[in-house]
Symmetry: C2
Subunit: 217 residues, 2 copies
Amino acid sequence: MKLYGYFRSSTAYRVRIALNLKGVLVKHVPVHMLRGGGEQHQPAYRAINPQGVIPTLVDGDVRLGQSLAIIEYLEETRPTPALLPADPLDRARVRQLANIIACDIHPIDNLRVLTYITTRLGASAQQKADWYRHWILEGFKAFEALIADDPRTGAFCHGDQPGLADLCLIPQVYNARRFDCPLDDFPTIARIDAACNALEAFRKAAPENQIDAPPAG
Amino acid sequence: MKLYGYFRSSTAYRVRIALNLKGVLVKHVPVHMLRGGGEQHQPAYRAINPQGVIPTLVDGDVRLGQSLAIIEYLEETRPTPALLPADPLDRARVRQLANIIACDIHPIDNLRVLTYITTRLGASAQQKADWYRHWILEGFKAFEALIADDPRTGAFCHGDQPGLADLCLIPQVYNARRFDCPLDDFPTIARIDAACNALEAFRKAAPENQIDAPPAG
């Protein structure tokens, strides 16, 4: 299997964590999102992902896009270790948390939307930064409220094993830090972020540890 | 069960279709998204949905937000008729299609983002309309490319029974029409939209048929 990704793409980052947690080895194929107007828009990549977005999982003739669809597919075909709990209500809780990030934060803050607000709506650098933080803070407020006092929250978002909600959360926290978004109001998120980043599966998936990351220093 | 929704909310519309397809009766509780600065932001609603977004499914003490999490929950607890196919690759295809709408079109075009671009970025009415259409067209191009020539597409997005991809698509087509978004380039989407709207489950879920819709005329 091959994963077409980009070191800083948080949707690719999610899938990398899932693959690592499940011990699935893939070949990583970098798609440079900034070079040449974005390699993801070019015909070679559009041929495997008509939407021109990262990531795509390719397995023989099969091409799967959309990170959550890919992760649910991995969960159904390689069920151990589970990324979703067994009980339907618990699964719904985890999916609700995941979707707060995957639907209501990340798509509004991603590169193509930031490009639109700066180039077509004339947003300044400050307005762009405010936009970025606004949607993270809105989403994190809800996320924190849902996990802070819920007895189902454990060392991780749901219980004591990392799962779907965690692997959506951690790349978003990474982005929040990168853009100086204050996290003081989110102690449970910060605690879970630390617990996840203590695990090899999460660390190996981090942007700086990808083959297309620029050299440190 | 109760569904907190709003007649024009396309995420509530998705859930209404799912409930109708599965024959699940719920009490519909309107939350007026425009009145008084938005009833969804007020403490009474935030107490059941800390994110302050529509919809929420309430079943006794259980409160579920995020339309896709709700629909997956309905699918797991009331499996007939199925909204997802049986095969994992087919399920991934349907979820990819659903997420193109649910992650990459709808959240960027929803009320709170439109309010932000007009009030804080100074977007004009024309710029707002352009924004709205831009994200629909981007997403529909990919959606059409994925369904147009795929032998798995049938009368509906996947085969000959309506499912998760259809119930995300149809509310988005409804919005596209409402905002005069040209659909000429999307013949497969238009065909499936007509097939869905011929079904009672979809028609009953349409905005104009909700208890909180304003009188016609």
